[in-house]
């Protein structure tokens, strides 16, 4: 099927392989961002291995390759903001600073998990850092984030809501209803679409007439930008600007971050055999590596070298291993929690 290629080079896997262009000022956050991205990748790689080993049984949708979106957006968020995700949200959780042990415990179904073992990988919550919930019904958190923005506006303290979703979610009616509502009521919700060009096995060319989804925002009078979602600097600067404005003057904003998932729709496999062009594209997309491109840029700027990267990788690996070991020892929820967690406790 022919598709109108509004994304231009952003959808072309052969482009944007070079090291990132770093900002001239305010670069001190970048080593931390590098570390966060390495953490997400390492943690998810470990989760993938444990799925393969049969130790994790709940379905896990990995965001490896998409780390820069969550890390870039999270840079300007504060714990009183209200963040919502979807099925592929380990990255959102970890980028906000969520506990590794609670993530590992959750995917193992332990009582110490982020959702106390009741939700698994697809249902994460971390109120301490503003993460209000991630759920796997496609599109379903978009109106909820919109309502959280309504509450934030009523509170009047400059907090905002963030709704993370994929390109597939823009095909659900509720996405369009939410955008209209947010625009009409001027709600401070940041819609962040991670356009990884796929919804499970189907490339966007088989699902939509154009490859970019930012046009939906434009149609609803919501200001929108398209960014290279594998460029943490570009994502962060788009988010910084939007969030700063939204805090001052409530209203919605839309970021389309173009990216690519390296693993299959669910689980650790590549799924090279699934979906239009995926087999040929995946190897090339891996060269638009959000981690490597940031590292190369930092190295060229003299802010990192192979020794410092190795140190990060080693430390992160140890953190992940430690969190996993702790989570494995943790207890399962007690049997009575099957029924005792359905309703609030009576007074």
């Amino acid at each position: 099927m022919e598709i109108s290629a509004d994304l231009g080079t952003l959808a072309d896997s052969r482009q944007h392989h070079a090291p990132l262009e770093l900002p001239k000022q305010n670069r001190s956050w970048l080593p931390g961002a590098l570390r966060r991205m390495v953490l997400i990748r390492t943690a998810e790689d470990h989760i993938g291995q444990m799925v393969t080993a049969g130790k994790i049984r709940c379905p896990c949708h990995l965001a490896i390759g998409q780390e820069a979106v969550a890390v870039g957006v999270s840079k300007s968020l504060r714990p009183t903001d209200r963040i919502f995700g979807a099925h592929r949200s380990h990255s959102h959780y970890l980028a906000l600073g969520g506990s590794l042990r609670a993530l590992m415990a959750e995917v193992l179904g332990k009582d110490t998990g982020a959702s106390r073992g009741m939700g698994g990988s697809m249902h994460l919550i971390d109120l301490e850092h503003g993460l209000r919930g991630t759920v796997p019904i496609v599109g379903s958190t978009i109106p909820i984030a919109t309502g959280a923005a309504l509450a934030a506006k009523m509170d009047g303290k400059g907090d905002i809501a963030v709704s993370y979703f994929g390109d597939g979610a823009t095909e659900e009616g509720v996405f369009h209803e939410s955008m209209n509502l947010a625009a009409t009521l001027r709600l401070p919700v940041l819609f962040v679409c991670e356009n990884n060009l796929f919804s499970s096995h189907l490339h966007i060319s088989l699902r939509q007439p154009r490859d970019s989804v930012a046009r939906y925002a434009t149609a609803h009078d919501i200001p929108a930008v398209r960014v290279d979602g594998n460029d943490v600097v570009a994502v962060a600067s788009a988010a910084d600007e939007a969030i700063e404005r939204m805090r001052r003057e409530p209203g919605p904003f839309f970021i389309e971050a173009v990216t690519y998932r390296w693993r299959g729709h669910v689980g650790p496999r590549d799924d090279e055999d699934v979906g239009v062009r995926r087999k040929d594209d995946l190897v090339v997309w891996r060269k638009r590596d959000p981690v490597q491109r940031l590292y190369e840029a930092l190295r060229e700027a003299g802010d990192a070298d192979s020794a410092s990267l190795e140190l990060i990788e080693r430390e992160v690996l140890a953190e992940v291993a430690f969190a996993w070991a702790q989570a494995e020892q943790d207890p399962f929820p007690p049997p009575e929690s099957l029924l005792s967690r359905v309703y609030g406790r009576p007074s």
């Binding site: 379905p59 179904g109 698994g120 659900e172 009616g173 919804s199 499970s200 699902r207 055999d273 699934v274």
Partner: protein, 333 residues
Amino acid sequence: MALTSYGVAIREGFEHLLSYHPKVFTIGQGLWSPWYVGNTMTDLEQQFGKARVIDTPVSELATTGAALGAALCGYRPIVIHPRVDFMLLAVDQLVTQAAKWRYMFGGDVAVPLTVRAIINRGGEQGAQHSQALHSWFAHIPGLRVVMPASARDARDLLIASVLCDDPVLYVDDRWLYGIEEEIGPPVELDLAWEGPKLTRSGGDLTLVGAGHSAWLCSEAARALAEDGVSCDVIDVRVLNPFDATLILDSVKRTGRLLAVDGDWATCGFAAEILARVAEEVPPSLLRAPSRRLTLPDAPAPTSGPLERSYYTTVGDVIAAARQIAGVRGDSWE
């Protein structure tokens, strides 16, 4: 003769329909995917073309409504919702539009729409990827609800659903895809005449279930027979409109009822079965209080140990049946 699995039998149903009925097409998510719907639709798009086997954007509501529109214009669409949970986004079209269309326009408008929803649970998938909800849908007048429990029914009730001029919700269960039997060639049944079926006879107790629960009942009955407890097993097959005659006749004979259901207890389908018995079977014929075995009234947890206690097993059915029949250990009370 060769055995055919439930999953392959569903595919045979599609193959029959697409081969012999040119107005049939199928539309939904995952139809061109190798994994979305198990082995039930493998390569249909290659055999019949992508114009009749249509994979879609993530748009359950529009897809279901569009199929309804095509059904009103002479086609026999089969909408696929790879999970019951996802179908909930399409409930207006199914419940408020399709189910009422014939009636509110005078009773003569054909609505040959089939919606196939798959129950897909277990595997620590949790609250939003585990729901069954056939009880909800069986509550809706105008919507026929079908749940096959055997490979033959998986194929022939699919065919009957699609050839029926009313909207049908056909619910299959991934936990059954591996069961096998000899099924012979496809048969075109009239769904209006299909209903509950006695799949095993015995005098001590009546076991009733639909879909996977019917399978649990037959497995339990086989084990119970070895202990000297003989059961009538009734596979409900068609939940709406619900003809309870066979169940009532059976309970009048056995005096004991155990209804098994993979949905929640409160206002669930098992409650409907017990209600019919309460209304129609004279108390003097009942030898024990009727019982139901259902999911606990809680969403599905992910945690392994909780999930294991959540779903009903053959062992649970056996234990409940023994209790109703008054059997302790291996001897009569």
